[in-house]
Amino acid sequence: MDDARLEGFLARLYTDATFLEHFIAQPTEVARAAGLSADQTQAVAAMDMDDLRLAAGGFRSKGARAMAASHGSAARGRWRRWWRWRVRMPLVLVAWRLSRRRITEARR
């Protein structure tokens, strides 16, 4: 059995809404056309289609968020990382050290 082919088929179901609906309408035909073996075709055709739709919706929304975070915003991402790690984080560390020093002095 070609496990990589099965993973690729599942990945397409999870990420491509049109392909998913086509599969739900004709599961056996679509799986066979994708080159899955007879056993794999039988197994994917037996999947719970409501669960599959739900899971695929989750994957697509995660993917859309990832694309929104990266698409056309490389500079913004760099700026955000720079702000978090070069500006905010050192300030937080300084504040933490000062508060530790104050606590230590108060204890003395």
């Binding site: 059995m1 496990d3 990589a4 082919r5 099965l6 993973e7 690729g8 088929f9 599942l10 990945a11 397409r12 999870y14 990420t15 056993d39 794999q40 197994a43 994917v44 037996a46 999947m47 719970d48 409501d50 669960d51 599959l52 739900l54 899971a55 989750g58 994957f59 995660k62 993917g63 968020r65 990832a66 990382r81 978090r84 790690w85 070069r86 905010r88 984080m89 050192p90 937080v92 560390l93 504040a95 933490w96 508060s99």
Partner: protein, 282 residues
């Protein structure tokens, strides 16, 4: 050694985490967010690890995939582990990309003998490149993976046996999967190789309708049954456990997260006491 309780490092929580370091034993940093870190970024991670022990958590290697993990990402993980010197590094028993498609999320592979071999091979490969064995985490899934010949506890047990990897047991993932399968999470817990558990994740989720499923969204407080699972786990094992609270958004006032950390400490203490009482009675 004592049990430890900590929290997932998120930029939104940074200030609150530093303000409460006396109550946080460890923080878990998402490694993939720092693969491209330059000298400044690495220096900040080192300073963070000077303040509190850190663990690195990978999300993008897909070590249970039929394909070997991406070499560039593995090299990035190796570099980060080498430079930051975390307590440990972890990854998921999932595939995250296939046939050129990025899922941006964790997908459950079929639970059968071949995927056990794939996972063991990939974990061994990752160990060779990174120089330390990854602690491997069970994932949540809304769909029973096709071509499976085993249930989840059987498959997980076989993967840990074949790979000799320590376990990061996500109790909320276990709770979600067992509940959605109409099974008892406690029974699933009892069937896992608990002696391999080093780290534990706790998190929250919510019910969704049509079909009615428990969703692992990390946006809600940890539900009571997850703390009950933690108590049970602590009563069943002797090794120290590191418990990490995961929260990925809809951040509440930090006091609420502190309360969850304290509930985790209570659950651990309760489980340890149950174990001692049990041994005394025997």
């Amino acid at each position: 050694m004592a049990d430890r309780v900590g929290i997932g490092w998120r930029p939104e929580l940074a200030g609150s985490i530093f303000a409460h370091l006396d109550e946080i034993d460890v923080v878990e940093v998402i490694a993939d967010n720092h693969f491209a870190a330059g000298r400044g970024g690495i220096a900040m991670l080192r300073r963070l690890s000077d303040a509190v022990p850190i663990m690195l958590h990978g999300v993008g290697l897909g070590l249970a995939s039929a394909a070997p993990p991406d070499r560039l990402r593995l090299d990035s993980m190796a570099r980060l582990v080498d430079l930051v010197r975390p307590r440990c590094w972890s990854e998921h028993l999932a595939f995250v990309r296939a046939a050129g498609l990025e899922l941006h999320h964790l997908a459950a592979p079929p639970r059968n003998g071949r995927t056990i071999e794939h996972a063991a091979r990939n974990i061994a490969h990752a160990r060779r490149i990174v120089g330390a064995t990854p602690v491997m985490e069970n994932i949540a899934t809304l769909i029973a993976p096709p071509c499976s010949s085993m249930n989840e506890p059987e498959w997980l047990s076989a993967v840990y046996a074949a790979s000799d990897a320590p376990m990061l047991l996500d109790l909320h993932n276990l709770y979600a999967n067992a509940t959605n399968a109409g099974d008892d999470p406690m029974r699933w817990l009892d069937r896992l190789p608990l002696e391999r558990v080093e780290t534990v994740h706790i998190a929250g989720g919510r019910w969704i309708d049509k079909p009615k499923r428990w969703l692992d969204d990390h946006l809600h407080a940890t539900p009571r049954p997850v703390f009950d699972l933690l108590t049970r786990l602590a009563s069943r094992v002797r090794q120290p456990l590191t418990v990490v609270l995961e929260r990925d958004g809809a951040y509440p006032p930090f006091e609420e997260l502190q309360a969850e950390l304290w509930l985790a400490r209570l659950a651990l203490a309760h489980g340890r006491r149950e174990a001692v009482d049990g041994r005394c009675a025997a």
